[in-house]
């Protein structure tokens, strides 16, 4: 492996000094491009607005403050308290919705993914095509229907409504990712379980699922991330104060003129952190799962 591997793009120890300089320069540039904007968001969130506005501009803030975080966590009073005070409540709503949708997806979507990977059944190809189409579908086109139906059912401005609406774009993904994952597990595993006297369901629950951890993590983490970050659906369906999730609240603060950017940056950073950490922790599994299922990101 080691002797052959060096041909792929060459071994860095064998590189000439010139090509090493070029490589490191490009790597640095890519790293800056990827993380500098996010780091800058953090820097602004621990700065005072007056220092951000100060010219000449400095990359290192002259003063560091956690006041912006104190404001949005409700620890100090300030002029736009009403807006920033909604952050924690909406984060809780985001968490509830994302967790419930993820749980539903993992249970229901995984089972279906398994069936697509293992069984032949009528309409399989047609329903697979339909699944693909749902993944390409603009979710926004479904929202007028959800809006009217939820109005008659009293599900507008409820978290239940959001959970239902979010399943429309997460469930097809999960089925697809899990199908791709189960296809990588040798079918002999199920077969030997069947020979040993398990029925299909037992084989699935006791033999296949226990070795499917990486796939479940990939599907679950991806679903959670999609729900945590979703904006448009929550913005339209849940407009009453206290019923919506974090992204609409942040977008709303951004539209207000009496809130400092540094405060909005603090809420943006705090809101982004869970998804970023989740993805960084599970990145290995997610990359495997997503590239196998090659989903719309």
């Amino acid at each position: 492996m080691t002797t052959r591997a060096r041909y792929r793009g060459g071994n860095y120890r064998r590189r000439s000094a010139g090509s090493r300089v070029v490589l490191y320069a490009t790597v640095t540039a890519v790293a800056l491009w990827l993380v500098a904007p996010f780091v800058w968001l953090f820097v602004t969130s621990i700065s005072y607005q007056k220092n951000l506005l100060a010219r000449p501009f400095t990359l290192v803030p002259p003063e560091v403050t956690f006041d912006n975080y104190r404001m949005i966590l409700g620890l100090v009073r300030f002029h736009a308290e009403g807006q920033a005070g909604k952050i924690l409540a909406s984060m809780w709503n985001s968490l509830v919705v994302a967790a419930v949708v993820t749980a539903l997806n993992v249970v229901v979507g995984t089972t279906a993914g398994y069936a697509y990977a293992r069984f032949r059944f009528p309409l399989k190809m047609l329903s697979l095509f339909a699944l693909l189409f749902t993944r390409m579908l603009p979710t926004i086109v479904l929202i007028p229907a959800f809006f009217l139906v939820f109005r008659t059912l009293g599900l507008q401005n409820t978290l239940t409504g959001l959970v239902i609406a979010y399943c429309s774009f997460t469930l097809p993904f999960t089925v697809w990712i899990m199908k791709a994952y189960f296809e990588t597990i040798p079918e002999d595993l199920d077969k030997s379980a069947l020979v040993d006297g398990c029925n299909r369901f037992q084989a699935y629950c006791r033999v296949v699922l226990p070795v499917s951890g990486p796939g479940l993590v990939a599907g679950g983490a991806f679903t959670f991330m999609l729900c945590w970050n979703e904006f448009v659906v929550a913005q339209i369906l849940n407009t009453k104060p206290g019923t919506t999730t974090l992204p609409p609240i942040i977008a709303g603060m951004n539209g207000q003129i009496n809130i400092d950017y540094s405060v909005i940056a603090a809420s943006g950073f705090l809101g982004a952190l869970p998804a970023v950490l989740l993805v960084l922790v599970f990145q290995k599994y997610m990359v495997q799962g997503l590239t196998a299922g090659s989903v719309k990101g």
Binding site: G9, Y12, V30, L34, M136, A165, P172, N229, T291
Partner: protein, 299 residues
């Protein structure tokens, strides 16, 4: 047996995708009035679903007669074209870099996921911090370096605002293309590179004659996915431009969103959104062919 496994998921998808999709299609042919609670309706399990008055293709003719629709369609085509090209090129470039061997490569591959894992609301927000006229970091740096005389108003001019949208969206989405390209590059047999090197092919010739041909299916995949994502983008417009200045960053999806949920004209709104859906169906057919063809490059 298979029914028990697929049943719940298909039932769920039927309820939350197929039914709303059909109902929205119906709405696009009716005269929706959100204030009127009487009129024809379907009673289902005690649930009263209003049907409104059928108006045939009137919503569609009205929408297609509106020059704003066509303006936003051309703008969308530019947006999608520019986005697809930028995302594919930058995504491929980053994949080439990350495919090299260097210390810290694993860390770099983790960093790759940072822009992609952010909510588009946060993506918009953090680019405001960089591009803003008053407090933007880029303007600050340019001014300090003496490269510009005054701060640049990136969002004041429609053309520049549209291009900023393209690039910001690319920043968010290109890492995903990189993931796909990297997966493809890793499945190319090393023997091919070894043979090419023995034949005296340098880096660029190996890229052109070995890497690119093997990646062809992945390239198509990236292009199709980026096209769909480009057509559907809404959230960044919401944070960064709100479709303005004037209508200069109004795309078809934003136009449909505004018509439906700002003016609450569901009839024409769903008609606009359905023209997009039709386009996505077409792209799905292409995508489906790709997936069936198996996008695993031959090793």
């Amino acid at each position: 047996m298979a029914c028990l496994f697929v049943g719940p998921a298909l039932l769920g998808i039927g309820l939350v995708v197929v039914f709303p999709l059909g109902y929205s299609l119906w709405l696009s042919f009716t005269d929706v009035n959100l204030l009127r609670s009487t009129g024809p309706a379907v009673e289902l399990w005690g649930m009263r679903i209003p049907l409104f008055r059928w108006v045939g293709g009137r919503n569609y003719t009205q929408v297609l007669a509106d020059p704003l629709y066509w303006d936003s369609l051309w703008r969308t085509l530019f947006f999608v074209g520019a986005f697809v090209v930028e995302a594919a090129l930058v995504g491929f470039g980053m994949a080439l870099v990350l495919n090299e061997r260097f210390p810290g490569r694993a860390l770099m591959r983790s960093l790759l996921l940072v822009p992609w894992s952010l909510s588009r609301i946060v993506v918009g927000l953090l680019w405001i911090g960089i591009l803003d006229f008053e407090f933007g970091a880029l303007n600050g740096l340019l001014l300090r370096a003496g490269l510009v005389d005054g701060a640049i108003a990136f969002f004041k001019d429609g053309w520049s605002a549209l291009n900023v949208l393209v690039s910001v969206y690319m920043w968010n989405q290109a890492p995903f293309a990189t993931l796909l390209f990297l997966a493809g590059m890793q499945s190319i047999s090393e023997d091919l590179y070894a043979a090419a090197e023995v034949d005296g092919a340098g880096y660029w010739r190996r890229l052109w004659y070995v890497t690119l041909p093997a990646l062809r299916p992945i390239v198509f995949l990236v292009l199709v996915l980026a096209t769909v994502n480009g057509f559907l983008m809404l959230d960044l417009i919401y944070v960064l431009t709100m479709g303005g200045p004037a209508y200069d960053t109004t795309t078809v999806s934003w136009h449909g969103f505004k018509t439906s949920f700002t003016f609450f004209k569901f009839g024409p709104g769903t008609a606009i959104l359905y023209t997009l859906t039709a386009l996505c169906l077409l792209l799905t057919v292409i995508y489906h062919k790709l997936v069936l063809a198996g996008f695993e490059p031959e090793g």
